[in-house]
Structure formats: structure tokens, C-alpha cells
């Protein structure tokens, strides 16, 4: 029983406490949906498998990249602080619009301009990066996950074809929750 406490309850509590603090902080400063989205971004890391060559070593950080305006403030940092996925610590990297985007695993693209959006998405072809965004037509342009709001709740659409061609495996548990979108090839 003490074993269970240490392995489950205390982390649980730690998480809860952190979460609470973060929540308090964020409530002061951020719209709620960005909180949820930040949490979801983190959650995605648990339900997605990257190919081996994405991580040079077992301890290479799993990078959450941001391009466009950073809407999360410090919330994302707080969410990922101390977390790790399969031994990979999490880290955040911010990119400017014109930067070459590489060495990240998830990329949240906060761009509304279609041309810029397309440019970024195209530049990521061939890399195993999970692209997430909430602009309309995100998926049509090649994105993989799009946040949508349904009945005041944040849900998401997923294009499995896009993720598959980037050699990313999305867990069925996640797919099950999402609206699956398949694009008709032109």
C-alpha cells in the first residue's frame, strides 16, 4: 500500500496541486479555452507515438513548438513542468513566422493567414511533427488536428491520413474521441 501511495497518489496529488495553482493563475489571465487547449496539447503527447528517429536519444526532450502568437502565456510551461513522456522531458520552443521550423514534435500553429499557414504546413512535409491548429480549413491545408468548440466544450477533429503520412501513430483512444476527417483527394 505505501508503494501505491508513492507511485500513484503522490504524483496524483502533485499534479492536482500544480494544476490547481496553475488554474488559479491562468484564471486570472487567460480565456478558459486556451487553458483547455494547452492541457490538450500536453495530453496529445500521451496518445501519439513518434517514430524512433524523432528522438536521437532516450532522453532527448519532446519539444512542443509554437508558431504565431503565443496564446498560452506561461500556462503551457506550467502544464508541462516536470512532466515526461516515456522518459523524454517536455520542453517548449517558440518559432517566428519566418523561421525554419525543425526539431520539434508537436507544433501549434496559431496563424490565420491562409498563405502563411500553407507555407508552414508545407515546410513540415517529411518531418514527423504533429500539427495542431484551430483555424478553419486547417485540416484541408494539411494539418492533423484541429480544435473545435461544440456545446461550449473543446473537441477536436483529426485527419489520420495526414498523421499517417508523417509516420505518426495516433492512439485509437484519442481517435475515438475525435471527429475523424478524411479529405477527398483532388
Amino acid at each position: 500500500m505505501p508503494f501505491l501511495k508513492i507511485t500513484l497518489l503522490y504524483p496524483l496529488l502533485a499534479i492536482l496541486l500544480n494544476y490547481n495553482m496553475a488554474l488559479w493563475y491562468v484564471q486570472e489571465h487567460l480565456p478558459r479555452h486556451y487553458q483547455v487547449k494547452a492541457a490538450f496539447l500536453y495530453n496529445f503527447t500521451q496518445f501519439v507515438e513518434w517514430p524512433d528517429n524523432s528522438f536521437p536519444s532516450d532522453t532527448t526532450a519532446l519539444v512542443i513548438g509554437l508558431v504565431g502568437e503565443d496564446p498560452f502565456g506561461s500556462f503551457l510551461e506550467e502544464v508541462i513542468q516536470g512532466e515526461e513522456i516515456k522518459g523524454h522531458p517536455l520542453s517548449i520552443r517558440r518559432f517566428e513566422q519566418d523561421d525554419e521550423i525543425r526539431d520539434c514534435h508537436i507544433l501549434f500553429i496559431n496563424l490565420l493567414d491562409d498563405a502563411k499557414l500553407t507555407k508552414v504546413l508545407d515546410s513540415l512535409k517529411g518531418q514527423s511533427v504533429l500539427t495542431v491548429g484551430d483555424a478553419p480549413g486547417f485540416l484541408e491545408k494539411g494539418g492533423m488536428i484541429r480544435f473545435i468548440a461544440v456545446d461550449n466544450k473543446i473537441q477536436f477533429q483529426i485527419n489520420p491520413d495526414a498523421s499517417n503520412s508523417a509516420e505518426l501513430k495516433i492512439s485509437s483512444k484519442l481517435l475515438r474521441l475525435a471527429q475523424i476527417v478524411t479529405l477527398q483527394n483532388p
Binding site: 501505491l4 500513484l8 500521451q46 516515456k86 483512444k173 484519442l174
Partner: protein, 523 residues
């Protein structure tokens, strides 16, 4: 029979209950395990729903628990411990259980419940609570009880019927057989036989039993016959032994008697021996005493002897000179009175000379004797008989004019002897032979020496006058003469005897009657 049934029943009951309890326990465990499996599966499936706050999905997942009819309720809690989704939907929030209890599955208050963490990877996303009723258990319990009861009842019935049947065909014959056996053993009557019932294995057993009885009976009879014989033999042997024992006792008694006698005899012997020993001691003592006496007497006698010898020696010695004086004086007187004296006076003087001569001779002889007795100046040496005889012959021839034939047969030519003594012996023997010759014949002397029994023997034989029988005892005594017609002192033989006996020998006389004498000297 009742006992059998009761025993069988009890055994069945115990076995039944045991299996029953075991099965129930097993079933309980397996239901719990099933619940646990369900819980784990549900929790695994709910991770995403919880992570992404998807109530619809969560409800869907929980609704799948409907398949397990006994599940009463299930609740998904988020990481904060707040209920997120329930099954069935619309559960009263107030009655929701406290999930701060331990994680795991257990029986509690008439329910099975379980608390299962929802974990994705290494991250806990919430908790699942499950509750199930125990209907399944009850049903199983009822089912088992019925089965056990039915089976038991049925088994007992079968057992009853079986024992009814078996007793008839198996246990009764066996019991009867064992009763027979007991009766036989008790009464030692082997003529009894068991009754055969039926032709099956038991019948066969009965036959075998009876056959065995027959054998035993025959053996028994043989044994008792043998026993009787044995007793007879033993009785005979015993009486024989008794007789021999008696005889033995007799013999022992005899031996004992004999023993007693022997020991008595031994005692007597011992006593006699003791007496003898003491007598011996007495005798020895007496002999000692007597010897002492004799020795003392001897010493006295020797002393006397010595005294006598000394006396004689002194006397002869002392007498010699007066006699010589006398002789000389008479010679002188004779010379002085040669012309003046009358013939009768001259005759008287001559007679005086002769007497003095005789006296002198006697003295000389005495002196000889003492010399001999004192053994003076005469040590043993190797002397030649021939030489001695020659010397003696010279002496004798010098003195006498008579024709003497001496024959010598000297087988022993030399002897280790005192020369002077031997000379005396031969001189005296020869002088005697000549002195006491027979006038009828010329003197013939035989001198022989030979060995006899390790001693040297000297034999002097003459053909003289011989010595008469009556004189023989005093033959070798001092101053004894048996013939007066010649001169002689009578001590010659005595001297010879002394000399010879001094050297450990002896002298014997063998008569030839009046034809002569034989003197045998053992030297």
C-alpha cells in the same frame, strides 16, 4: 448396518461440505478477479475520455458495463476527485462513495467494490470506482447446496441398497466363516467344518478353509501321538538317568571313603616320617656326639701314640750311646784281659758282647720302628724293583754265606714309592725267608711283581719252615717270634706292616703249610 450407513453418511457429508466450501471460496475469488479485470479494461479505455474531458465518450464506455448484470454502479473521477461520469447515468451524487480508500478490489458491506486508478503511460488521469452485488455468489451457493444435498441423499440411498445386497452375499458368509474359526480356536475342536454357501469366491474360500482344517486336524492327531511317544521316551530316559545317578552316588561315596582312608594313611605316613625325621635327628646328634667322643679319643690315642713314639725314639736314641759305650768298654776289657782272664771269664765277656749286640739290635729295630712310624726321611719316588732287590741282595749276601737262589719275575718294574720303606720291606721279607729256611732244602725265593685291580702287588715266596696256623693271628704283632732257633727281634713283619699300611696298602700271608710261606704285599 446402521453404523455403516452413519459412517458413510458422515464421510459423504464431510466430503461434500469440504468441496462445497472450496468451490464457494474459489468462486468468490474468481468473481472478484472478473470484476477486477472489468475495472482495468474500463479504466484503460477511459483514459482519453478523462484526459480530454469527453463526457459523452466516458458515459459510453461506462455503459458497456451493462453487460455484467451484477454491476450495480461505476463512477469515473477526475484527477481532483470529482465525479466525471457515472453508470448508470443519474446516480445520486450524495451517495457516491469515498474514493480515498485503498486502491484494489474487495468485499465490503455485502458488495464487491473496487477502486482502480486510470493511468495513461505513467500519468494518472483519474480514478474508476466499481460496485457489484453478490447475487452471483448467492445463486452459486444455492446451486451447490442443492447439488450436495441431492448427491448425498442419492449416495446414501445407494449405500443402503448396496449394503443390503452385499451383506447377504458377502458379509454374512464371511461373518459366519469367522465365527466358525473362532469357535474352533476356542474349543480346540478341529473336526468342525464351515458350511459352504454358494459357489463363488467365498465358497472357494470356505472350501480352502475346510481343507486347511482337515490338515490341521490330521497334524494335531499326529502331533498328539508323537507327544505321547515322546512322553514315554522321556519317562524311560528319566528312570534310566535316575538309576545311573544312584550308581554314580554310590561310586562317589566309595571314592569319598577311599579318599578318607588315603588321607588317614597319609597322615600316618606323615607322622611316621616326622618320627623318622626326629629319630634321624637324634641319631645324627648321637653320631655327632659319638664322633666327637671318638675324635677326642682319637686325639688322645694319637697323642699317646706320639708320646710313645717319642718315648721309644728318645729311649732308643738315648740308649744307643750307653750301649755303644758298653760295647766299647767290653771290647777294651776283652783286649785288656785277653791273656790274663780265665777262659770262663772270657766266655762270660763273649756272652756279654752277644747280649749287648742283641740289645743294640733291639734298640736299632726300635729306632727303625719309630722311624717308620714317624715316616721320617722317606719321600716317595720312582724306584726300580730290580735296583732295590739288588741292593738288598748285596746286604744279605754280605751278611750270610748260605746259598740262596732268588728268582725274579718282575712284571711291574718300577713303582712310585718311598725307597727306604720298600727296601725295608724287601730286606725284611728276604731276611726272614733266609732266616727261617728249612734245613732240608736249599733256599729258593721267588719274587714277583704284577698289577692286580689297579695296585701293584709284590709276592715273596719261600720254601722255608712256614708258619703254624695257631700263630697266624699274632703274625704281624710286635716282638713276636715263633721260632727260637735263630736270632731275630720279632719286629720285622711288624715294620713291614707299618710301612705298607702307611702307604695305604696291606700285607697278607698265604701258607704253604710246612713247605714255605707266601707273603703278598699290596703296595
Amino acid at each position: 448396518m446402521t453404523v455403516n450407513l452413519l459412517t458413510s453418511g458422515a464421510v459423504l457429508l464431510v466430503t461434500g461440505l469440504a468441496f462445497f466450501a472450496y468451490e464457494l471460496y474459489n468462486f468468490r475469488q474468481s468473481t472478484l478477479t472478473k470484476l477486477s479485470s472489468l475495472g482495468e479494461i474500463t479504466a484503460a479505455n477511459s483514459t482519453a475520455a478523462l484526459a480530454f474531458d469527453d463526457l459523452t465518450a466516458a458515459n459510453e464506455i461506462l455503459a458497456a458495463l451493462h453487460a455484467e448484470q451484477n454491476i450495480v454502479s461505476a463512477i469515473l473521477y477526475d484527477t481532483l476527485g470529482q465525479p466525471f461520469a457515472t453508470y448508470p447515468i443519474g446516480l445520486d451524487e450524495a451517495e457516491l462513495p469515498d474514493i480515498s480508500q485503498k486502491i484494489g478490489y474487495r468485499f465490503s458491506r455485502g458488495y464487491m467494490e473496487g477502486i482502480q486508478p486510470v493511468i495513461q503511460g505513467s500519468k494518472s488521469l483519474g480514478t474508476l470506482y466499481l460496485r457489484s452485488n453478490l447475487n452471483a455468489l448467492w445463486e452459486r451457493f444455492q446451486l451447490y447446496s442443492m447439488v450436495v444435498l441431492v448427491v448425498m441423499g442419492f449416495s446414501i440411498l445407494i449405500a443402503y441398497l448396496l449394503s443390503l445386497f452385499l451383506s447377504k452375499s458377502i458379509s454374512r458368509p464371511i461373518v459366519s466363516l469367522s465365527e466358525t474359526a473362532t469357535a474352533i480356536s476356542n474349543r480346540q475342536d478341529y473336526s468342525v467344518r464351515a458350511i459352504k454357501e454358494g459357489n463363488d469366491e467365498l465358497g472357494f474360500l470356505t472350501d480352502a478353509f475346510n481343507h486347511m482344517l482337515g490338515q490341521i486336524q490330521a497334524n494335531e492327531q499326529a502331533l498328539s501321538r508323537f507327544n505321547k511317544d515322546l512322553e514315554k521316551k522321556v519317562a524311560e530316559r528319566t528312570s534310566a538317568l535316575e538309576i545311573s545317578l544312584k550308581e554314580q552316588k554310590e561310586a562317589e561315596r566309595e571314592v569319598f571313603e577311599k579318599n578318607k582312608q588315603l588321607s588317614q594313611a597319609l597322615d600316618e605316613l606323615q607322622r611316621t616320617k616326622d618320627k623318622l625325621v626326629s629319630l634321624n635327628n637324634e641319631l645324627e646328634q648321637r653320631v655327632e656326639d659319638r664322633t666327637k667322643e671318638v675324635n677326642a679319643k682319637n686325639q688322645e690315642l694319637e697323642k699317646v701314640n706320639v708320646d710313645l713314639d717319642n718315648f721309644i725314639y728318645t729311649a732308643s736314641h738315648d740308649l744307643k750311646s750307653p750301649i755303644s759305650n758298653l760295647e766299647g768298654l767290653i771290647g777294651i776289657v776283652k783286649e785288656e784281659l785277653e791273656d790274663l782272664a780265665e777262659p770262663t771269664h772270657v766266655q762270660f765277656l763273649n756272652m756279654m758282647e752277644i747280649s749287648i749286640m742283641k740289645l743294640k739290635n733291639t734298640i736299632v729295630d726300635l729306632a727303625e720302628i719309630t722311624k717308620v712310624q714317624k715316616n721320617l726321611e722317606d719321600n716317595a719316588e720312582m724306584v726300580s724293583f730290580k735296583q732295590i732287590i739288588h741292593d738288598v741282595k748285596e746286604d744279605l749276601m754280605f751278611n750270610k754265606q748260605t746259598a740262596v737262589s732268588i728268582k725274579e719275575n718282575l712284571e711291574v718294574e718300577e713303582i712310585y714309592y718311598p725307597a727306604h720303606g720298600l727296601r725295608s720291606v724287601l730286606y725284611n721279607l728276604l731276611s726272614n725267608a733266609i732266616k727261617y729256611r728249612s734245613g732240608e732244602r736249599p733256599v729258593a725265593i721267588n719274587i714277583d711283581t704284577y698289577q692286580e685291580n689297579g695296585s701293584v702287588v709284590l709276592v715273596v715266596e719261600d720254601n722255608g719252615l712256614g708258619i703254624e696256623q695257631k700263630h697266624l693271628p699274632k703274625l704281624f704283632s710286635m716282638f713276636k717270634r715263633f721260632h727260637n732257633h735263630v736270632d731275630g727281634t720279632g719286629i720285622g713283619l711288624y715294620i713291614i706292616k707299618r710301612i705298607v699300611e702307611n702307604q695305604g696298602g696291606e700285607i697278607k700271608y698265604i701258607s704253604k703249610g710246612d713247605k714255605g710261606s707266601i707273603f703278598k704285599v699290596y703296595l
